[in-house]
């Protein structure tokens, strides 16, 4: 898959810009706050319909404008051309057109564009709470199969409904509430178990890819563990919900289930969060992104667009060289505020200044 042209209107710092992108590796250079990350964000928005920085949609609209537009021309490996047009409204619903056909639900866009973004903020995957790690897994599941989007939305919805029900019970149990809770639980077990299975399968599949990527980056074999072993999966969600019911009622929230899962990251047999250095954690998060990227490439049969947003400066020279030497096949965008390392052999270079493309050159090899 190739995004060969992207047009941004009132998107973050961009008033209006048309950016042509080459296949292969493109370096996007510019000083800070000129629009490099905005470009990365526009591309990832088309894949996930969300900001990869986790900001609300209205933060994607340029200050002073009401609506942002992202228009992207995509060519798939089989030659199929797709024009995606996304309209992001500060208030009200967003709209998406694919080849000039308006999508009934904007979530139908998922699966049309796939991107992998690695950004400095990815370090949060190690240090912050489990929410981001769950999202990492679920985003990968959606990229692998769009059916998983409905699955995760349904789990969210059931948990929200169940929590309201628990709050309504006000800590007291009667037959009426118990019966209603039973049916929500039955549905929750069905859907939640499927999500748990999908996550477990994903973790098993992606781990070898992550280990391989880590070894390439670090230059030496390192034990990397991705551990997804929620307790409810050993006893079954149904039994876990029964065991937790009194607690759930007392606290007015659903205390067990896939919405509280965590993915434990380990290096050299120790939890990364507490035992790994910041450099190791950075390498780990990059290896995870690259591992997922390779799994998706393998599974879908086409490489997603890989965006490395301002990460070279964060890695030590040997690791950034290793990364650049082993970039996966497919289209890659590297943004940087500093000089490109020698190992980078981009096919094209785009210079961005104040939300405008000031130079775009193809580099002959």
């Amino acid at each position: 898959m190739l995004i060969y042209r992207i047009e941004l209107t009132d998107f973050r710092v961009y008033k209006h810009a048309v950016i042509e992108i080459e296949p292969g590796v493109t370096a996007v250079v510019g000083r800070n706050a000129q629009g490099k990350t905005s470009l990365a964000e526009a591309m990832s928005y088309l894949a996930t319909l969300e900001s990869f920085r986790g900001v609300p949609n209205d933060a994607l609209v340029r200050l002073g404008a009401d609506t942002a537009y992202v228009r992207a021309n995509i060519r798939h490996d089989d030659g199929r051309e797709v024009l995606v047009e996304a309209e992001i409204n500060r208030s009200g619903r967003n709209r998406v057109q694919v080849n000039k056909q308006r999508l009934a639900r904007i979530r139908d866009l998922l699966g049309v564009v796939r991107t992998t973004v690695f950004a400095p903020s990815d370090l949060q995957l190690v240090y912050e709470g489990p929410t981001q790690r769950r999202q990492l897994l679920d985003d990968a599941l959606v990229a692998l199969s769009t059916n998983n989007d409905a699955l995760r939305l349904e789990v969210d919805r059931i948990v929200r409904q169940r929590n309201v029900l628990l709050k309504q019970s006000a800590g007291r149990m009667n037959a009426e509430i118990s019966n209603t809770l039973d049916v929500w639980d039955e549905k929750f077990v069905e859907v939640g178990t499927r999500l748990g299975e999908a996550r477990a399968r994903l973790v098993a599949q992606v781990t070898p890819y992550v280990c391989e990527a880590y070894e390439v980056l670090a230059g030496e074999p390192t034990r990397v563990d991705l551990i997804y072993e929620p307790e409810w999966r050993t006893v079954g969600l149904g039994a876990a919900l029964v065991a937790a019911r009194n607690d759930d009622i007392r606290r007015g929230i659903t205390t067990v289930g896939p919405h509280r899962d965590d993915l434990v990251l380990g290096i050299n047999g120790m939890p990364a969060r507490s035992h790994a250095s910041q450099g190791e954690c950075r390498t780990l998060t990059l290896a995870i992104r690259l591992g997922i990227h390779r799994l998706i490439t393998h599974h879908v049969g086409a490489a997603p667009l890989l965006v490395l947003d301002d990460v070279l400066s964060e890695l030590d020279p040997s690791r950034s060289t290793a990364l650049l030497r082993h970039l996966p096949a497919g289209q890659v965008i590297i943004t940087t505020a500093s000089a490109l390392p020698e190992a980078a052999h981009p096919d094209a270079m785009i210079t961005i200044e104040d939300g405008e493309v000031v130079a775009s050159v193809k580099i002959a090899k």
Binding site: T146, N147, R160, Q168, E176, N179, T180, V183, W184, K187
Partner: protein, 202 residues
């Protein structure tokens, strides 16, 4: 900011804007149209509104909209009283009636379980439905709630209560639209249609 409309028109727009499916633009268009309508048409419309409100009520049996205590379906004794179709809304009765495939009776639940909207079993006409089972000799309840999370949960709830009573609970099937194309079906519908496949009877 002062309203750009004269107050009676603004009031009209506000009222239409409260109706389902009518946005501000449509409300404005209808209001503008109404003031241009001939007097007798207006009278007819006003009468139709109040008349509908005065004369339509819920059927005591099935809670469908009705002109009398018992709606036309509940009072039709050619209907099969052993089979009951539970639906969310009166509109669903109309939809199923149009198929001409169902000869049993209905029960309008007036919603589905939806804690986020504050709707539990008490707010629905579930108890009323169970009161009908024995007197009417109902042996099967087809739960025809929508195939979404809330609809499925409501179906489960009803099925669980029916089970000890020995009344058969069935769920309307979901699958592909007739005359449609496989390639245009969304993955979830198609996946479910595959899961619920049946043997071809020869």
């Amino acid at each position: 900011m002062a309203s750009p409309y004269t107050p009676p028109i603004q009031a009209l727009i506000d009222e239409f804007g409260k109706l389902p499916g009518i946005g501000p633009r449509s409300a404005q268009r209808i209001a503008m149209h109404i003031v241009k309508m001939p007097r007798e048409d207006i009278n007819r419309l006003a009468h139709a509104l109040t008349d509908a409100k005065d004369r339509v009520r819920y059927c005591d049996m099935c809670f469908n909209l009705s002109e009398s205590e018992k709606c036309s379906i509940c009072s039709d004794d050619r209907r099969d009283s052993s089979i009951l179709c539970a639906v969310e809304d009166s509109r669903d009765v109309v939809a199923i009636e149009r198929t001409g495939e169902f000869r049993g009776r209905y029960h309008v639940l007036q919603g589905v379980l939806d804690p986020l909207q504050g709707i539990g079993p008490e707010q629905l006409k579930i108890k009323e439905m169970f009161r009908r089972l024995a007197p009417e000799g109902i042996t099967e309840v087809i739960v025809c709630t929508n195939p979404n999370t809330e609809g499925e949960v409501t179906a489960l709830y009803i099925a669980r209560l029916l089970e000890p009573l020995g009344v058969k609970a069935t769920r309307i099937a979901s699958g592909l639209p007739v005359g449609g194309d496989l390639e245009y079906a969304d993955e979830i519908t198609l996946g479910r249609a595959l899961g619920n496949r049946r043997t071809i009877e020869i």
